[in-house]
């Protein structure tokens, strides 16, 4: 691509440099000239509709929208003067008179609403036009967010977000002129929508209180919250989170635009499920007395553990860990004699077979064809699915899906095949589809490692090889859990089926480190025979963030930190080391996995016969060191 030509424009008498193709607003922003906007969002295509960003061109009176007007060399614009303020105020008045803005009743009141902020900034103290008082519905049928049409300014930021970031086009505008209204699907509701993925990106993009998160409403003003950037732990993509907290509560979670991975986008798991879904948290250590779990202190619980471990040879104690552990804790695990990790089927062969996939998103974005094999990005890695959809819609890239299970992505695919029933004629179709494809990406998941998956993979490779040198696809491997690659790299024993491991007698004491598995680690119980085998073990210790059926098998329960209390790094599917910053101090007496491991180690090693493992222990991260909001609240 040719380098863009440098140009110079004059903004408010100041000479500013830019390049051809930039808009007036982009050049102004680079020079810290603030032009008011409403419908503009940096990462979306310009709309040019709200007319807040008008500037005077070449001495006026002509005004043009700065957000969508390409800059030309030598242009002169004025961004601030009395006339522009007057015009912008009038636009604001029209917006206010159009709908029913009852600010004191709105969760965005006082600082979170761009409309209100602009009105204050432009001295709009009253509206000169009679209000229209339309009677409009409020859609509260959605699980996580609501849409109050009374507060909508029709900026289409939500519509463009849904199309350009999530790629599903659930939202659009219906009707003409003043009857314009945001619609979900074909005039449906969020609750009944068949296309909405609940990614919540539209809500984050809305400048007003029209789209609002139910959990956030009235928990606190975002502008008065503490905000921390951290990493999502819900899948191996590792999207960047911007978490808002107040009074030791999570108030809102947005995608972080500083994230080199996800560039501001999230899927429903990171955006909502981890904080807006109700869960029962374990807040204190518990021990079983007369069949009931009772609350105890940490020293009491560790005492109990020490007693249980007393005299046990190392091979009779085991540690079964969730793969949600962070790198620091994983290093620690190796000190235990019998430590293993419970993982999803075929995940480990994927991590062993595949390299990490640096720049996966760049590859996906530039692809002419995307092949999905044995992965479920629409369910597991929503942000990858979003990138696939947007590439298919924007670039017209071809999409081929091989699976054994239906997926929401199927609707976007050119070819969609159940791998169990592939015939010869089918491969001719695949070959034809790939004939003039230059850049392709193969997204594969654990199921690609099954025998049938491997057969398909070999077929695909043969097709690509016949296309010639350098025609192969970029590979994007998608394991299931956040840190699987690190687990495998650390050389821990991964278990797809825990039964043989549990059955390897004699096991007298078992620690289950469930970390903050959303289901409290209960998925372990789905393994064949697991329930029976767990019952046979004398002492089961479970550390988990959430209550579940698993705690029913435990004699000792330890409260673990949730993702917003964790501190450390994970290695994502691209091979990037991503930081988790503690967002809140641990709730109750919860401790993070590393601290729990350390405590377990001390409690059991001092009493067990024949201590095992290295004596050089990595220093544990102190968990209480997180700045607390409460302390500033006296």
């Amino acid at each position: 691509m040719l380098a863009s030509k440098p140009i110079t424009i004059t903004i408010d008498g100041k000479s500013c440099a830019g390049t051809e193709g930039q808009t007036l607003l982009q050049i102004a922003a680079a020079d810290n000239v603030l032009i008011p906007t409403l419908c503009y969002l940096k990462h979306l295509s310009p709309w040019g509709g709200c007319r807040m960003c008008i500037v005077e061109l070449n001495g006026g009176p002509k005004v043009v929208p700065a957000c969508s007007t390409p800059a030309e060399d030598g242009m002169t614009i004025a961004t601030q003067n009395d006339r522009l303020t007057r015009l912008r105020r009038m636009t604001l008045e029209l917006l206010f008179s159009e709908r029913n803005h009852v600010c004191p009743m709105c969760p965005m009141n006082c600082g979170d609403c761009e409309l209100q902020t602009q009105a204050l900034r432009h001295g709009m103290d009253s509206v000169r036009f009679p209000y229209l008082y339309p009677s409009l519905p409020v859609d509260l049928s959605g699980r996580y967010f609501g849409l109050d049409h009374n507060r909508c300014i029709l900026c289409t930021r939500c519509v463009r977000t849904c199309e350009e970031m999530e790629g599903v086009h659930t939202l659009d505008i219906a009707n003409r002129g003043g009857r314009n209204q945001v619609v979900v699907d074909l005039n449906s509701t969020f609750g009944a929508s068949t296309s909405c993925t609940l990614c919540g990106a539209c809500v984050a993009a809305c400048p007003t209180g029209a789209l609002f998160d139910k959990a956030q409403a009235f928990r606190g003003k975002l502008n008065a919250c503490r905000s921390v950037r951290t990493t999502c732990l819900e899948c191996p993509v590792g999207c960047g989170l911007l978490v808002f907290t107040k009074d030791d509560r999570v108030v809102e979670v947005f995608g972080s635009f500083e994230s080199s991975v996800s560039a501001g986008h999230l899927c429903v798991k990171g955006r909502y499920q981890t904080w807006a879904d109700p869960r029962r948290r374990i807040l204190t250590p518990l021990i079983r007395r007369n069949g009931k779990l009772i609350t105890v202190s940490w020293p009491q619980a560790l005492d109990e553990l020490g007693r249980a471990a007393k005299g046990l040879p190392p091979e009779q104690t085991g540690l079964l860990a969730s793969p949600r552990l962070m790198n620091e804790a994983i290093t620690w695990l190796k000190r235990f004699y019998r430590a293993a990790v419970f993982v999803a089927p075929d995940e480990i062969s994927l991590c062993r077979a595949g390299d990490k996939s640096p720049q996966a998103f760049q590859h996906l974005q530039a692809a002419d064809a995307i092949i999905v094999l044995g992965a479920q990005p629409a369910r597991e890695n929503g942000v990858v699915a979003a990138k696939i959809r947007t590439t298919v819609r924007r670039r017209g890239a071809k999409l081929m899906i091989f699976h054994t299970r239906k997926s929401d992505l199927d609707a976007y695919a050119d070819l969609c095949a159940n791998v169990v029933s592939l015939e010869h004629r089918f491969w001719e179709k695949v070959e034809a589809q790939l004939a003039d494809v230059k850049r392709s990406v193969l997204v594969y998941g654990p199921a690609a490692m099954t025998p049938i998956g491997v057969t398909v993979l070999e077929k695909l490779i043969a097709i690509f090889e016949s296309k010639g040198e350098g025609q192969g696809p970029a590979l994007v491997g998608l394991p299931v859990t956040a840190n699987s690659f690190s687990l495998v790299a650390a050389g821990l024993e991964p278990l797809e089926d825990v039964a043989p491991w549990l059955d390897e007698k004699p096991l007298k004491l078992l620690h289950i480190l469930a970390s903050d598995e959303p289901d409290g680690g209960a998925r372990l119980l789905d393994h064949k025979q697991a329930r029976r085998l767990l019952k046979e073990i004398d002492r089961v210790v479970v550390s988990a963030a959430y209550q579940s059926d698993l705690t029913e098998y435990a004699q000792v329960v330890l409260p673990a930190a949730a993702w917003w209390e964790k501190n450390g790094t994970v290695t994502n599917f691209e091979g990037a080391d991503l930081r988790l910053e503690p967002v809140l101090p641990p709730r109750g007496e919860a401790r993070d996995d590393l601290a729990i491991l350390e405590a377990l180690w001390t409690a059991t090693q001092s009493t067990a016969s024949g201590a095992h493992g290295s004596s050089e222990l990595p220093a544990a991260q102190p968990v209480g060191s997180i700045p607390s909001n409460r302390s500033n609240q006296a």
Partner: protein, 480 residues
Amino acid sequence: MPSEYRLILKHADQPGYTNDLDCYLRHGGYEVLRKALSLPPRILSDGRKVSAQEQIRDEVMLSGLRGRGGAGFSCGLKWSFVDRKSGKPVYLICNADESEPGTFKDKQIIYKDPHQLLEGTILSCFANDVHLAYIYIRGEFVQGAKILNRALAEARAKEFLGKNILGSGYDLEIFVHRGAGAYICGEETGLIESLEGKRAYPRIKPPYFPAVLGLYLCPTIVNNVETLCAVKHIVAMSGAEYAKLGTPNNTGTRIVSISGHIKKPGYYEVEVGKVTLGELILDPAFGGGLREDRQLKAVIPGGSSAKVFKAGEKFKLKRRGPDGQMSTVEVGVLDLPYDFDSVQQAGSMSGSGAIIVMDDTADLTEALENIAEFYAHESCGQCTPCREGSLWMAKALHRLNHGQGRKQDADYLLHIAKHIQGRTICAFGEACAWPVLSFVSKFKDEFQAKGAADEARRSRTLTAGAGPGPDLRIAASPEV
């Protein structure tokens, strides 16, 4: 003695003239196309070859043809803007959305002489190396779409269309696309979005000028039905001959739709600038005058979005004399030559060539409400000033006509209208602001009197303690 000059409508209304191909061929149809396709390249004195296509484009430029769709932009110049080096295909779209209130001229061509439109379109496509063209026809023209589709099939069967047209090696396909009944689909970039299957949201210009980034982001020509028909006659008679029709810079003929309070509403094809607005309204050859005992009150000269003229208004026009000297002459409304430049100098536009006449029985606040309702209904809703402004103007006018007016409403209306024009993505902003600006400022006393009368009556009712009258119920009705 002014009279019609029928060039495009020459055959349309002749007894026995039908809209099928045979009839068209009997009247010399597709001869121009046949000639144009076999036009040899012209060799210039410097040895440069001018292709047949270029020759046609030059003729159109020379003819001075101005677009008949509304803006009156030079057709030759528009074609010259087309980006021919992009390597992308060039598309041509015939704008048959004819939805400007008061306009009913394209309909005559489509219904009565569709092959003339096709021949003009094929010639224009050939001249611009277009291989795929669309006729975007307004949804309400159900029959029109059928007629065009039949005409296309006939033309295809006779090899006027399709692959290797008349053995020339030139390929062209034309498709009819029906709109769904929205005025904004007439705006060329809205039309393009609609044709792409999206909501007809007009695009931001710059950068989306159709000549560069049009249909599917390829260079695209959008021309009105009448403009494309004129191309046929330009190729037939040469640009220079065409330019002799009409007046300088306002060449050729155009079809004027006249409606309103006149004896003979209808469409009349005239040489541009050779007749005056007064003649079009009063002459027996055209509108035939007002009804008995009626006085002229107002005229809209170019479709409902053009600024209104008040009877008795005087305009200063710049005229170039035979000696080339510029001079200023004063003309009244009725003496205003009906051409692009004169109407524009008089502060309005000849737009789509639709003249709407109102006599002294017309209530202008009601007339304006009717227009404003139309624009409030048809705004696409992208731009705040247009979406809200058009709605608010319609609301205020509704109020004024239903006993809830206020004295200051007139000024409010002007205020809003001024806020819309020049602040929007497309020219709809002007289209909805101009009628309000012109009606209210030219007939301000009427608007103020209505508001004042309402106020006076309301204060009477209040002092008489009669409680809310029937008027308030109207204001409280939830209709939006």
